[in-house]
């Protein structure tokens, strides 16, 4: 979907168009994510926590973005919002041309199923199910027939080089293998975005590298990848880094300029 086709159904304000136009420096690319003034507040026992205080973010198809920030910066909340697990109190969120911020629970579930592939820090595989069945799961909820599910799940597992581990349960797999199962599960329904939350948080550094190489390959193949992390060396794999602080975007850099700034930012991020 091109920028032009997005415009009309969205009914964007002139201001919004300016933001989008600013972000859309590469003409002809599709907009996957457009947020405008997203606010999210929690009531924590009488005390109001303002996790997001107005986030404007636009992400194009095929981008490989890292979202960074110290704990409490709101990056988890932003991640949940982008992943349609949570809805903002105020502001708009457009995912692939659909206004998500006002959707019902079931509509959000459908969007999560079709548009988003999650990769979690703790893998979040079903412990009693085989790798194959874990990968099948999103297709079950998409209403895909059993044979088709198995075929596509095998294909996805083959993509992450786990074709010989399909019938293993998570506890029979190493951490890196588990995360690759999770990646296969995230990819199996051909989502618009692959959303990874600290994907290497539970892995040692060599396995981390292995997983990052998988992401790299996927990004090269044209998969949109958004990754939340607090580790600068992991974020360095991404081609764009968004840094959140106190619920707003503190910086948003393409790779070239980010690499130069990394040295300056690193101490604060730790």
């Amino acid at each position: 979907m091109s920028y032009e086709t997005v415009e009309a159904p969205l009914g964007m304000t002139a201001e919004r168009q300016a933001v989008v136009a600013e972000a859309g420096q590469a003409p002809g690319k599709d907009w996957v994510i457009v947020t405008r003034g997203i606010k999210r507040e929690y009531d924590m026992g009488g005390e109001v926590v303002r996790a997001l205080r107005g986030v404007d973010l636009a992400i194009m198809r095929n981008e490989y973005v890292a979202i960074m920030g110290p704990s409490g910066s709101g990056k988890s909340t932003l991640m949940n919002t982008i992943g349609c697990l949570d809805t903002p109190n105020a502001g708009e969120y457009w995912l692939n041309g659909q206004q998500v911020s006002t959707m019902t629970d079931d509509a959000l579930a459908r969007v999560r199923n079709k548009e988003i592939g999650f990769v979690f820090q703790t893998f979040n595989l079903l412990p009693r199910a085989t790798a194959l069945h874990n990968v099948e799961l999103p297709l079950v909820y998409a209403g895909v027939s059993s044979d088709e599910r198995k075929r596509r799940a095998r294909e996805a597992l083959t993509r992450v080089n786990l074709e010989d581990r399909m019938d293993h349960r998570p506890n029979e797999l190493s951490g890196g293998q588990r995360q690759r199962v999770a990646i296969a599960r995230a990819l199996v329904n051909n989502p618009s975005i692959l959303l990874a939350d600290e994907p290497t948080g539970n892995l040692d550094s060599s396995t981390s590298e292995e997983i990052m190489r998988v992401f790299e390959t996927l990004a090269d193949q044209g998969q949109t990848v958004i990754m939340v992390t607090h580790e600068p060396d992991i974020a360095a794999h991404a081609r764009r880094v968004v840094v959140l602080r106190d619920g707003v975007i503190a910086s948003d850099d393409r790779k070239s300029s980010f690499v130069e700034k990394l040295g300056i930012l690193a101490p604060t991020l730790k």
Partner: protein
């Protein structure tokens, strides 16, 4: 999620924790066991009552004109018994007017019954034996046939010959291994020649139906059995195509006139059908069925509460799984049906086990007692569907709690 996938998932989950699942479904299982067992035993008793007991005493498609019922499962109050005893007996003289009122194709048999001591050359110890004196159609109506020898000839009926047919027990007792045909039984000093031995009539409640002697109604025995021209009953068999009710009304009319009853007076005789004999049993049966359903219902309620609790625990234990499923696109409906199907499957399994143990229970009872337990298909279907229903009802609350979990909170659960 498709229904079959949901059931497969439920079965997997149940199988993984076999012991816990078994204890969970125990309540439903016991409830259904009792349901099946009670219904089977009551059904068996019912069949026993109608086929064995009443069926052996009453002939098919027939009714009996009697002084009082011979099968009395109902009102046993002293007052009622006195009323029955005060009634006039049925007389031989009643037969002709009744027969005159019947259609020509309707068969009848006048029967006199008494208990007399008989003896034989081979068995000097006399024994009280039931003696029947009957008119020719009796054997046909009762569908009794000889295994040995023959029935009475028309001449024997006409002349009142000293001939008898006997039941198997009588043959065994008095002739003790000898061929009874052509030998004699002595009753009150007079010898009677055995011309036939009847096929076995079976028994009910431990009482044999094979201990009898039958003689023509013209036989000298008739005077001993039915003194003063009194008889026990007139059996009237109505062919299938004729109305039993209208025939009974005709006979009732004749009897009321003969007994000089005024319109406001009740009948002082009995027109007994197999239905009227079973009437009281049917009343008891309905109470038994109600009790047999009410008691298991308590078990099922307890079973439902157990399942609900275990499902609530399961939802708590599997919060993270629910979070994962929701993140991957499970809708509320999917989560709801997953847990509903799980609890319904659990409960239906319990019901199925209950049906099996109920069967076994009924079998054991029918082996240890004379009651034949008949398992009825409807009770199996009712048992299974009650199981499924209990599971669904017990699962609604836990399943809806699961479906309403917030995915973020659920995913954060350790």
């Amino acid at each position: 999620m498709p229904f079959l996938d949901a059931i497969r998932l439920a079965l997997q989950t149940i199988w993984v924790q076999k012991l816990k699942s078994f204890f969970t479904l125990l309540g439903v299982m016991i409830g259904v066991t009792f349901l099946i067992a009670v219904v089977s035993i009551v059904g068996g008793m019912s069949r026993y009552m109608s086929d064995e007991l009443v069926g052996k005493i009453m002939a098919i498609n027939s009714f009996e004109v009697r002084q009082r019922p011979n099968i009395n499962i109902g009102d046993n109050s002293e007052e009622h018994q006195r009323e029955l005893r005060r009634r006039p007996r049925i007389e031989e003289a009643d037969v002709a007017p009744i027969v005159a009122a019947l259609e020509p194709d309707i068969r009848y048999a006048a029967v006199g019954i008494g208990s007399l001591n008989a003896e034989s050359k081979y068995q000097l110890k006399p024994k009280a034996t039931r003696v029947f004196t009957v008119t020719p159609d009796y054997f046909d109506i009762k569908r009794m046939a000889p295994v040995k020898g023959r029935l009475f000839s028309p001449q024997e009926y006409e002349h009142g010959s000293n001939v008898i047919v006997i039941g198997q027990d009588v043959a065994k007792y008095y002739f003790n291994g000898l061929e009874p045909l052509g030998r004699e039984l002595i009753v009150k000093g007079l010898p009677y020649t055995v011309v036939g031995v009847m096929e076995t009539q079976g028994s009910a409640f431990g009482q044999s139906f094979d201990q009898f002697i039958v003689a023509p109604h013209t036989s000298p025995l008739n005077r001993l059995v039915n003194p003063h021209g009194l008889i026990n009953s007139i059996i009237i068999q109505v062919p299938g195509q004729r109305s039993m009710v209208s025939t009974m009304e005709n006979v009732r009319e004749v009897m009321r006139i003969r007994h000089h009853l005024r319109p406001n007076q009740k009948d002082n005789f009995e027109l007994q059908t197999s239905d009227s004999a079973l009437e009281f049993w049917n009343k008891i049966k309905s109470y038994l069925v109600i009790a047999g359903v009410a008691l298991p219902a308590i078990g099922l309620v307890v079973g439902a509460i157990v399942i609900m609790n275990i499902m609530l625990v399961a939802v708590a234990e599997r919060t993270r799984e629910i979070g994962i499923r929701k993140a991957l696109g499970a809708k509320r409906r999917d989560i709801m049906s997953q847990f509903l199907v799980e609890s319904a499957t659990l409960s239906t399994l319990g019901a199925a086990l209950g049906v099996a143990t109920g069967f076994a229970f009924a079998k054991v009872i029918s082996m240890l007692s004379p009651l034949p337990a008949a398992v009825e298909l409807w009770s199996v279907l009712v048992g299974i569907s009650i199981g499924a229903g209990v599971g669904v009802i017990a699962g609604v609350y836990p399943a809806s709690r699961a479906s309403r979990l917030d995915p973020i909170t659920a995913l954060r659960q350790e």
